[in-house]
């Protein structure tokens, strides 16, 4: 459960139930279902809106919010800066099954099962800390993505699943789960199951007509000998699918193609982290903030290192640390006002000689530009960005975002005392 959104943005509960029923049929006595939710959202609260736990009550399944787990075991992993804590429920489980809802993903083409498994660690540990190495260009090498892939695979190695289900029966293409308007559902009626996550993901990618060798995550998995990505060497049972059977519309790799109303993009060199968050933020704006963007009239969205200078200096949004730090000397940082003033000498002379002609001179007055919004972070947090936007533009200029912000507040607030789902009585 990644988002406070319903299927197919999240896992299909119908599929989940069928799998649990099958597990029970095979004699499995205790079943736990859980993951770490995204920061700020609790399973408990999401359950009160989506009502998923009650659908499994008869099956004796325990739903666990891993962020509330008391039994955490500290593990040191090669690519993590510090030891990470993993819930014992995961580590001690006899069998781990991944039920993965496949959708397009801006970084790794699609939300793979390996990526899904990354949610067994807290979002705090999932963060990538920018560490520039001497002589290596962080952006050119796309170190963010490489570091992320390494961490994901480190976590994958802790506990490998015995069954992986890539559910692409209905998948969201184009803009992905966050944007209803710019996304599209593709009904494929296909599920890919297997006991090797890497192979299942590689086959899924091959089905989309993409080469697993070009996928950072799968390529790294192959390099680390974590699984097979060569589809020709796989034993495929069921539908024999030709290559390119499913052509999906992937997330747009170029942010300029997103065409957000009244928003002008100026980009420099940016990392995958900033691209991913900017992709979601711009799509969110496109979907929900149409009215707000109309009121704003014009905004500049600067992303990456040394982006191009905006043509004017009103409403400049600097997205990410790179954009904030490398534009300190840019012209838009200052505002220049031309003011006509009378020189003091001329004024003084005027006191004595009334007939003297006073000539006004034009003087440049330079101030710091206050119409700049810096969205700090590497990459910035999505929800912090929304809060900053509303603070910068003010509520009355952002009616849509203000309303959405209130709904997010409602979703993220702690569970109420009487959090019943209501009755028509």
């Amino acid at each position: 459960m990644n988002y406070p959104l319903a299927y197919p943005a999240n896992v299909n509960l119908e599929t989940l139930r069928a799998i649990i029923e099958a597990c029970i049929e095979f004699g499995i006595k205790k079943i736990l279902v859980g993951s770490f939710p995204i920061k700020g959202f609790s399973w408990e609260r999401m359950d009160s809106f989506f009502g998923y736990k009650e659908l499994f009550e008869d099956l004796n399944v325990d739903f666990i919010d891993l962020s509330h787990s008391d039994n955490l075991k500290e593990i040191s992993l090669e690519n993590f800066e510090e030891p990470i804590k993993i819930p014992e429920e995961i580590l001690n489980s006899s069998k781990l099954i991944i039920v993965n809802q496949v959708n397009v993903h801006p970084l790794f083409d699609f939300s793979s099962s390996i990526l899904n498994l990354y949610s067994i660690i807290s979002p705090e540990y999932q963060k990538i800390i920018k560490q520039e190495k001497k002589g290596k260009d962080y952006l050119f090498l796309d170190q963010y993505k490489k570091d992320l892939a390494k961490k994901i695979l480190d976590v994958y190695e802790i506990k490998k699943p015995i069954l992986v289900i890539n559910d692409l029966f209905n998948l969201i293409e184009k803009a992905g789960p966050i944007s209803f308007k710019n996304s599209k559902i593709k009904k494929t009626n296909i599920m890919i199951l297997g006991n090797d996550s890497v192979a299942v993901d590689a086959l899924t990618l091959k089905l989309f007509g993409l080469d697993p060798m070009n996928n950072e995550l799968l390529f790294s998995a192959m390099e680390r000998d974590l699984g097979n990505i060569n589809v020709d060497k796989m034993e495929i049972v069921g539908l024999q699918l030709n290559e390119n059977t499913l052509k999906i519309k992937s997330c747009d790799k170029d942010l300029e193609n997103l065409k957000v109303h009244n928003t002008f993009l100026r980009k420099g060199r940016y990392c995958s982290g900033c691209y991913e968050k900017a992709f979601y933020l711009l799509n969110f704006m496109n979907t929900y903030l149409f009215k707000d963007l109309k009121y704003i009239k014009k905004q500049w969205f600067l992303i990456g290192e040394n982006p191009d200078e905006p043509e004017d200096n009103t409403n400049v949004i600097l997205f990410g640390d790179c954009a904030c730090n490398t534009t300190k000397t840019y012209n838009f940082r200052k505002t220049v006002h031309l003011k006509k003033v009378v020189p003091i000498k001329a004024r003084f002379l005027k006191l004595f000689k009334k007939k003297i002609e006073i000539k006004e001179i034009t003087k440049e007055i330079i101030h710091d530009n206050k119409k700049i919004l810096e969205l700090q972070g590497c990459p910035p947090n999505f929800f912090d960005c929304l809060a900053s936007l509303i603070k910068y533009y003010r509520k009355n200029n952002m009616p849509n975002l203000n309303f959405i912000q209130k709904t997010i507040e409602l979703l993220t607030q702690q569970k109420e005392k009487n959090d019943n789902r209501g009755s028509f009585k």
């Binding site: 119908e14 069928a18 009502g51 209905n170 996304s183 559902i185 209130k406």
Partner: protein
Amino acid sequence: MINEKFFKDWEDFIKFNSKIEIIIEPKQLTDKIYIPLTNIEINAYVFHKIVEIFYPKLMDEHLNWVDIVISSDDKGKKVLMAFTQISTKPGIVNRIIPMNTDDLKHFLKKSKNIEEIFDNIQKFVFKKTGVKISAIHLYDEKILDLINESYNNLENQSHFESIKRLLSFLQKCFLEDLIKIYPEPSSFHFLKQYFRLYGKLNLSNLFGSLKTLMKGKSGIFIFKMEDLYLSLKIFDSKVQAKRDIDHDMYIELLNEEQVLELQDDPNKFLKKAIRDFKLDFASFFKLEPLLEFLIDLFKQDLPLQKDDFCLMMQKIVFGFRSFENFWFVQPHPIISNTLVRFLLRIFGFNINIKKLSHWNLPDFFFNILFSSLGFNSNILTIIAEKKKKANILKHAMMLKFEDGALTSLTPLKSSVLKDFNLDDPRTFRINHFKEKYELLTIVIINSELLKYFISFILGVNKRFLILRLLKLFKLLKNDKNLLIYPKNIVLELIKKKRSIILLKYLLDISMDKFEF
């Protein structure tokens, strides 16, 4: 055999059409005819003008056509009767020529598809009569029984009832696929798709519920289309009895003097109409934008995809905001009074019908709704009635959405929902999920809330709009009036926030900030 009354009504229309060609001032004619399949008698010139204006726009520019009634059995290869309808303008038939059924029989037998039937019959008719037809209409013989059924005891029905019958007739024709037209007009294609997807929704009953909503109200609707000004007077049955009025509905043409008055000042004219005819309300609609909207709508494929749906909704909201441009109403909405709006704005409430954000509302509303419900969702909507002892399930409907498009709309019989307990939707949702692997969102609406909501929409011209809006919020906040199970985030926000604050949020989203 074709119903005599139906045939006579159509013949009367044809006779009038042929007569009108040689008359200089057709408006002066006082001939009356019945609208086919109804008991509504109107001025023949009015009906002629309606057909002349609407037919080419909605049914394409079909000039002459052949009507063929075919048998239901024999795989539809037996021709029972056929006519060539000859028209001077699209829809304006002025001559009807019966055709020999034997001549047509072999065309139907030897042709592979309707396109080939049309080509062959077109050549045949041209060779025989010199008339080039532009369409063929194929009717299943069952339609004759349906026509007879529609005319059965029709004279004793009210006009309103006869319209209900007409709608029921059309619904049956489409559901049973009794009519085929080639080339198919876009409107016909749209309706075919509509009934295929949503045909289980009874149109006749839906139209009937209008009367319930209009209860106790009599009014006049004036429609303008090109140079045609029509009035439709509707009388409530009590008013009809009290004032000894023959029918519940009158369709008339405005005279030149009235047209001038209306053009000069529509509001003044509507006020006068209320006074003269002792009515409760009067409204004036320009039909050109509505027709344009319908033409656009008919070009769409069903189910409407989310973008198209939002666009159509935008057009509807735009029509609503075009108050005193596309439509007028009396009594005049107090909210459109500048002073009232100014005073409300001082208190932070920006409310103005003419400034509805048609460009934002549908998109924003549907984006929020489908993000919380899911792109693919099943919504069981239940309308319940509150009784002292128990709640009664009145109507139920299953709505299925795929990628935000409404793919099916099925009214459910009470037998299907015999296990449904209004006080406990949870159990039904769980059992449904267990048995059918189908996740449901259950919406239970109190019929009183629905009535209040509709009367609120219809009564935008009434006083105390803000107070009535606040009352609506108050009703929405109560689980007894509206329950969504499991919780919906938008409804929860409505329930949590104070009505005044909520009103401000919603007005900010719904109204344009700038007055110019």
